[in-house]
């Protein structure tokens, strides 16, 4: 196709690409490279920052907490997202549209607003504790926030639409005659689902899980608000290193590690999934 174009036309189209690319290089890729650069040059050149990944118990705890919460969050969000998407695909169109509308609504609402709403509900003097106590169900307030429970809850709440929407798009593309065909051949509803439908939805499920997981790794706002300084995930820890201890070396090292981990996961996935389809480019 490109060979069709004469030189001056080619120039115009490459210019269209070049301008954004140059701006991206200067104002985005260069900043990213600075982060990588700092991780191996501050405070002294070398990999000593990265050695802390092995030597610092605090850092290991943070990483473990992050991975633990993200895995949990992803699994729950996927389950809920799949259930919602499945239901939305299989009901009458108006019903399905309503479900989709509400999921989209949740998707578009500000992450801050959502975290704030959860905070007001889950606090020691928050609404849930107030109600539970006024109904006499508990004597003292439950600790629903400033711990992993609160963080996971907030993150799941944020992630369900991120899981549900791509799964929905994927499920919509499954031929609706397949399951009835399986039933007609003698399968029970459960068998038809497990042996026919689920495998067909697997690619979408895998894409959604990878997307959800890698987005949740870098989360800052929700865990910071709901973790209350007690449950700290990696993004917040990085911010603390910068703002409070001015430890740019550790901060950039962790940021680099996070970035490399995400790229590694994506690279591994690229063998199984078309990455472009996953991000909606194709």
């Amino acid at each position: 196709m490109t060979a069709d174009l004469d030189a001056s036309t080619l120039r115009i189209y490459w210019l269209l690409l070049a301008v954004p690319l140059v701006l991206l290089a200067v104002f985005y890729l260069y900043p990213l490279s600075r982060v990588l650069w700092l991780s191996v040059t501050v405070p002294t050149p070398g990999f000593e920052n990265f050695e802390k990944l092995y030597s610092s118990a605090a850092i290991q705890r943070i990483i473990w907490t992050t991975v633990r919460i993200c895995v949990l969050t992803t699994m729950i969000a996927l389950l809920l997202g799949y259930v919602v998407a499945y239901a939305a695909v299989h009901v009458r169109s108006l019903h399905g549209e309503m479900m989709l509308f509400l999921v989209l609504l949740s998707f578009w609402l500000s992450v801050l607003i959502r975290a704030f709403a959860w905070l007001t509900l889950l606090q020691r003097n928050g609404l849930i504790n107030d109600w539970l106590m006024s109904w006499g169900l508990i004597d003292s307030p439950l600790t629903l926030v400033r711990n992993e429970f609160g963080v996971a809850l907030g993150m799941v709440h944020y992630m369900v639409p991120y899981a549900a929407l791509p799964i929905y798009a994927n499920l919509k593309g499954i031929d609706p005659r397949l399951v009835p065909a399986a039933r007609g051949l003698g399968a029970t509803a459960l068998q038809a689902f497990v042996k026919v439908y689920l495998p067909m939805s697997l690619p979408g499920l895998i894409s959604a899980s990878v997307l959800t997981f890698i987005f949740s790794l870098g989360f800052y706002i929700t865990p910071a608000l709901l973790g209350g300084g007690k449950t700290v995930m990696i993004a917040e820890y990085i911010a603390v290193q910068i703002n409070e201890t001015l430890n740019w070396g550790v901060a950039t090292m962790l940021a680099t590690t996070l970035l490399l981990a995400i790229f590694a996961i994506l690279a591994a996935m690229s063998f199984f999934v078309d990455l472009r389809k996953m991000f909606g480019v194709k």
Binding site: L17, F27, Y30, H90, F101, L112, F263
Partner: protein, 268 residues
Amino acid sequence: METGTSNGFRITLFGAWLAILFLTLPLVVVFPISFTPHRYLSLPDGAWSLRHYATLIDDPSWRNSIRDSLITGVASTVIAVVLGTMTAIGCWRLSSRLSETVRILMLTPMIVPSIVHALGFYQVWVQFNLIDTYTGLIIAHAMKSTPYVVISVSAALANVDLKLEQAARSLGAKVVQALWMVIIPAARPGILAGAVFAFALSWDELVVNLFITSRNVYTLPRKIWDGIQDNIDPAVASVAAVLIVLTVVAMLARFAVARRQRHTPLST
């Protein structure tokens, strides 16, 4: 398409609605709190008050933060739309392995966690003297939003016949004229969708703002964040309520437009 009303499906549907309620109901809590007469987060026990809504209008720091968010949002959206559309069009026409690589590069900001590029922006913005400036914030937001515009416009362009550009040129249009008069209008839905996404992204952005702005540029999310950190100001609930209502209205409007478009007889 219905799978019939088997028990398994009924349970699934019930579970789905539970999940949806989980998604939407917590936000409802914001509304009663916003009407509390007290100066701390509480439910209005008896007396309802609009004082916290009034704060949004009377208090200059709230007004200014809304203004700052609007300025950054509009400006960064314009830039993101221009850059994203240029990228999408170039990739659409060139369709080579090299241009595909460029497209993937342009998507990097989507994959990188906010905290990571916030650090980067901080370092480089100090170098470029852009800290705590509108320009600096606008550029950072534009970089973050561009990938979404690229995706949105690329999707719209996938349905645009490549021959349209040739047809326009055969009729006497120069390449730029063909793009401006034919191709871009054909991709308009994608451009608009991308613009909405870009604006929403900028409007909600907090992490980057925390790092590269301080007093001079003070956007709404930062004001909310600060409002939550210390004693939570119920005005935050009012802002939250307003934002929720705005989002619902915007989505309903879009929904209605999409429905009307679908029901107008257009095809042969």
